[in-house]
């Protein structure tokens, strides 16, 4: 299975700045072997699709919603039909469970401390509502937070997802081309925690591909 040519996706890069930035990100994604990249945008920017058409890498637009109440999320979602992927940043345990029930939400995004919110109950909810969970490794890659602080939370999140059979995605959360990493190198972070290589690679290939396939 390891020899199968995989298609890798990074579903969290951005927010988008200008054409030069986008060119650098797409070139880096192609160089690192990604098949698709989701760029976080703040408004419906048509120039992004035009600028990315020169590259072999597939581009998806993504909007991340940061809110405290579900009512605010619903209000924002209604104006975001143009986005390929709608993500919700989960900064509260209760909110994360409620957000999983929203039909229009495509991804529940966890990063930093909130990785600890991924527990058995959260996995049960996302399984019922068929929502993928995303772990953003931005802080770990950038080195703003040492790995040892999050390693226990990361291990627990991977374990409950593994046991519960949830669709889990790892993404770089890079703010630019310099923050992006090779998919196999990112997957090795899960491998060193004791998970099979094939499953770890699936976190950056099969699982995000399923998400992207469902969206379009």
């Amino acid at each position: 299975m390891n020899n199968v040519r995989r298609r890798f996706y990074d579903l969290n890069v951005g927010p988008a700045r200008d054409e030069e930035w986008l060119d650098a990100v797409m070139a880096m994604a192609e160089h690192l072997g990604y098949r698709g990249v989701a760029i976080v945008v703040e408004d419906n920017a048509e120039w992004i699709r035009d600028a990315a058409s020169a590259y072999k890498v597939e581009l998806y637009t993504r909007v991340d919603i940061r809110a405290r109440r579900l009512r605010d999320v619903r209000k924002k979602i209604s104006k975001l039909r143009w986005a390929d992927i709608i993500g919700v940043i989960c900064e509260d345990r209760g909110f994360a469970r409620e957000a999983a029930k929203l039909k229009q939400v495509d991804i529940l995004s966890f990063s930093g401390r909130s990785i600890g919110f991924i527990d058995t109950r959260q996995i049960n909810v996302v399984n019922i509502h068929r929502k993928p969970i995303e772990i953003v490794l931005r802080d770990v890659i950038a080195g703003t937070t040492p790995l040892y602080i999050y390693i226990e939370k990361l291990r627990k999140a991977l374990e409950v997802s593994w046991r519960g059979g949830a669709t889990l995605i790892l993404s770089s959360g890079a703010s630019g081309p310099g923050g992006m990493r090779s998919p196999r190198d990112i997957a090795s972070i899960a491998s060193i925690l004791g998970y099979p290589e094939d499953w770890s690679l699936g976190l950056l290939s099969d699982n995000p591909r399923r998400v992207v396939g469902d969206m379009l």
């Binding site: 080195g143 090779s182 990112i186 090795s188 060193i192």
Partner: protein, 112 residues
């Protein structure tokens, strides 16, 4: 029972493309590996810099590591730091022999 390390060790030659400037990239890699996995794992991994024949691109660092520690090396590359700053790098090619690695690098335009 034989200890784990008594298994036959197979070498993996790994080329790493560094996207930023670092005075001593190999030391940076060793330091990152040591920070992540500790002194014992570093010693057992057999990590060693390898010099390739031919004109290798300047930003490519080639190392040897025992095959059981390849994932540890990849994780170290993903989280590589040069001094206090994160250094972007990625594994370009992995092979069991130096000649195989050179072939792969030639195909990918890193070796002439």
């Amino acid at each position: 029972m034989k200890p784990k390390w008594s298994k036959r060790l197979r070498a993996r030659y790994v080329s790493i493309h560094l996207h930023g400037e670092c005075r001593d990239a190999y030391s940076a890699l060793v330091d990152t590996y040591r920070n992540l996995f500790g002194e014992v794992s570093l010693g057992l991994s057999g990590l060693k810099q390898v010099k390739l024949s031919g004109n290798v691109s300047r930003e490519v660092l080639t190392v040897r590591v025992w095959h059981t520690f390849l994932n540890n090396l990849r994780a170290s590359v993903a989280l590589l730091r040069c001094g206090d700053q994160p250094l972007q790098a990625h594994v370009v090619a992995v092979s069991g022999t130096v000649m195989g690695l050179e072939d792969l690098l030639r195909k990918r335009g890193y070796l002439s």
